[in-house]
């Protein structure tokens, strides 16, 4: 090893930086006196950088406007916004830090691995954890007592998604001859595929599923995948994608001049993100996604939308409403429980969370309630279609604002 010479120490900088970290987070200062505060302190953990940054930032846009909207409904919450960088290690240590700095409830976290890391900390600290987005069915099956989930599992998403394809066929009198299912081979996609393999045969669909194709979520293009679909020539393509893959999929379909009657997502994001509209323009229209959606007829949704518009003039609520809506509801659940419990004491607050029964909320479905495992089974899906580059609810009729268009118009000649 060569000896090193001429080195100037830089420890002063490091020490200065260390001092900036709040000391109470490190050393057990006298247990923080928790006066019966009127405001609930909630740690909101999101992957705002790293692999899931796009989704995390979309959720974040919903989170930042939530306290103001909730205040109008008589709820007082204070949020700690924490970016866990799409990294499990960071998720775990930052949850500890948030709780050390006084968080009384945690919501999040979009990504399954991080969600479980957070769940463990909350379980040990007896702090309620409200999963606002997280679909792996296992999350509520692991025996955590301080956890509830206000989101559909992959099987629920797929089951509702398939049922609504039938509703679509009935509403538009269009029938499909055959279908192909394409999905990203990531966590969400694989869990959806499992659900699809299990549920499609039972769903009694009036058309056969010819093939299921998994693609690499890191693929640079989906040209080969589309060639493969084109060789089968289905008139319905079902997709479970992330948004950047959805762009590649549609783009390669257009280039290869493959035009199915419909592209439907049975419960996945991707076909409606702002980047999707930006990249594809008119070609982004008429795709369908069967998902829980912000109920456009709910008064609370309208309040959230108004606040969102004011805070984020560059973003559209219609596009962010899935992420923003569930993020909002996660915080609402915590705030509502706090109001009923009258205390932020963990076990008592958790009792109240479990006893949640919120009639008035944002997303489609019945009142927010949890079963004994902490799962909300009453979230319903809507059929949403992109129209003029805006996600528009088209079914079921009671929440729809337009009627569905099917089959979708040809790629050529769109404007």
């Amino acid at each position: 090893m060569a000896s090193n010479t001429g080195f100037r120490p830089s420890r002063r900088d490091l020490l200065g930086a260390a001092a900036a970290v709040s000391a109470t987070a490190l050393i057990g200062a006298p247990a923080i006196v928790r006066a019966e505060a009127k405001t609930l302190k909630i740690a909101k953990l999101l992957p705002r950088s790293g692999l899931f940054a796009a989704a995390g930032q979309s959720c974040h846009r919903g989170a930042v406007v939530t306290p103001k909207v909730l205040a109008d409904y008589g709820y007082a919450v204070e949020l700690m916004h924490i970016d866990f960088e799409s990294n499990v290690d960071v998720a775990r240590t930052q949850t500890e830090r948030a709780i050390a700095e006084g968080a009384q409830c945690v919501t999040g976290a979009f990504e399954s691995g991080a969600t479980l890391a957070i769940a463990q900390v909350c379980e040990q600290r007896q702090i309620p954890f409200v999963i606002d987005i997280g679909s792996a069915p296992q999350l509520t099956e692991q025996g955590y007592k301080y956890l509830v989930r206000n989101f559909q599992t992959n099987p629920m998403l797929v089951e509702n998604g398939l049922r609504q394809i039938k509703d679509l066929m009935a509403a538009t009198k269009v029938s499909f001859e055959s279908a192909v299912y394409v999905h990203a081979n990531d966590t969400f996609g694989t869990l959806s595929r499992k659900a699809m393999d299990e549920l499609f045969p039972k769903a009694g669909m009036p058309f056969p599923l010819k093939d299921s194709i998994a693609y690499d979520p890191k693929a640079q293009d989906l040209a080969v995948e589309v060639t493969k679909i084109r060789a089968i020539d289905p008139d319905l393509v079902m997709v479970t994608s992330r948004s950047s893959d959805a762009i590649k999929l549609v783009r390669d379909m257009v280039r290869q001049r493959f035009e199915p009657k419909a592209i439907v997502s049975p419960g996945s994001p991707g076909l409606y993100d702002e980047e999707f509209y930006q990249a594809l323009g008119p070609l982004a229209d008429f795709h369908l996604y069967n998902l829980p959606w912000a109920n456009p007829k709910s008064e609370m949704t309208q309040a959230l939308a108004a606040a969102f518009k004011q805070a984020h003039p560059k973003n559209r609520f219609e596009v962010d409403c899935f992420n923003a809506g569930f993020t909002f509801e996660g915080i609402l659940i915590a705030a509502d429980a706090f109001k009923r419990a009258g205390t932020a004491d963990g076990p008592t607050l958790m009792e109240a969370v479990k006893a949640t029964n919120i009639e008035r909320h944002v997303m489609t479905g019945g009142p927010i309630r949890f079963d004994e495992k902490g799962q909300n089974n009453d979230i319903t899906s809507a059929v949403v279609q992109s129209r003029h580059r805006t996600p528009t609810v088209v079914l079921p009729a009671d929440v729809a604002v337009m009627v569905p268009v099917l089959p979708m118009p040809a790629w050529q000649g769109r404007s």
Binding site: D216, D221, T227, S244, K248, Q278, A279, G281
Partner: protein
């Protein structure tokens, strides 16, 4: 059915040429300066964003924008080698590795800060056009990008073959001591090479925006891809990089079509392992002395 296979192969070839151009830059840097550029893919992504901005703001088509971008990248590369990286030449791989991984982290997250996490498409007017050649459907952008990639490669070949500086650089790669003995300014040649390598990446990145959208987190995948191609094709061999690119492009396309698309990069890695074991100098590389 044959037409479909042929189509898949053509797609693979066109994409492969572009990959090849990207790998060419790495091959030059790695082969001459002996610095392992682990931020290679990140540079390609920066070039994608540069081409994106030039097109969106000034309406310059990436096929043209690639020229100023390549020049800018040459300057950046020259300066970078001259100031920071030069101290690491001849140092152990792992030290270069940390330096460049640090740089890669800075680039990726800097892009995230500036451009946000969403995919940024160039939206060229001809992005969706394709031509029918007999039974084949070929994307126009891919053809343009592949042709442009070939042109850049040809220019680089000519430079290394016919100019004095190019010959001098090749001499450095072949025999460093000898080159120093005959009085070549090795330090300057290294900086030139690093600049040229980055110019290649710059051009490749600018072309890449025509077929893929810019996302901050793309970098590591491109770095790995470039390394795979360079090793498969043969280090220090310029044709090797192109052939490696073609081979990876076509084998991924065929594997995706015949086996499972989600497993296609497994075949690249299997190919890489096979080449490392059976022909470590790469398919077109020279036998080590």
């Amino acid at each position: 059915m044959l037409a479909i296979y042929l189509n898949v192969v053509v797609q693979g070839v066109l994409t492969g040429l572009l990959y090849g151009l990207m790998a060419l830059g790495l091959s030059a840097i790695f082969g001459v300066v002996r610095v392992v550029n682990f931020a290679h893919g990140e540079f390609a992504v920066v070039a994608m964003y540069a081409a994106f901005v030039l097109f969106r703001v000034y309406g310059i088509d990436p096929m043209w924008a690639m020229l100023p971008i390549a020049v800018a990248f040459f300057v950046i590369g020259y300066a970078l080698q001259h100031t920071v990286i030069d101290a690491f030449v001849g140092r152990p791989d792992h030290e270069q590795f940390i330096l460049l991984v640090g740089l890669a982290i800075v680039i990726t997250n800097g892009l995230l800060l500036v451009f946000g996490p969403d995919a940024q498409p160039a939206n060229l007017p001809y992005a969706f056009d394709s031509v029918m050649v007999g039974p084949l459907i070929i994307d126009e952008v891919r053809v343009y990008a592949a042709v442009a990639a070939l042109a850049v490669c040809a220019a680089l070949f000519a430079f290394f073959r016919f100019t004095r500086t190019g010959t001098a650089i090749r001499a450095c790669a072949d025999n460093l001591v000898g080159a120093a003995v005959v009085g070549l300014n090795v330090r300057r040649l290294y900086a030139l090479t690093f600049g040229l390598g980055l110019a290649c990446v710059g051009a490749a990145g600018a072309l890449m925006i025509t077929i893929a959208d810019a996302v901050p987190s793309l970098g590591p995948a491109y770095t790995l891809l470039a390394f795979t191609i360079v090793i498969v094709g043969g280090l220090g061999s310029m044709t090797g990089a192109l052939v490696g690119g073609l081979l990876i492009g076509v084998s991924e396309a065929l594997a995706g079509f015949l086996v499972a698309p989600s497993m296609k990069s497994m075949f690249s890695f299997a190919l890489l392992i096979a080449v490392l074991v059976l022909r470590p100098q790469g398919l077109l590389g020279k036998k080590p002395a």
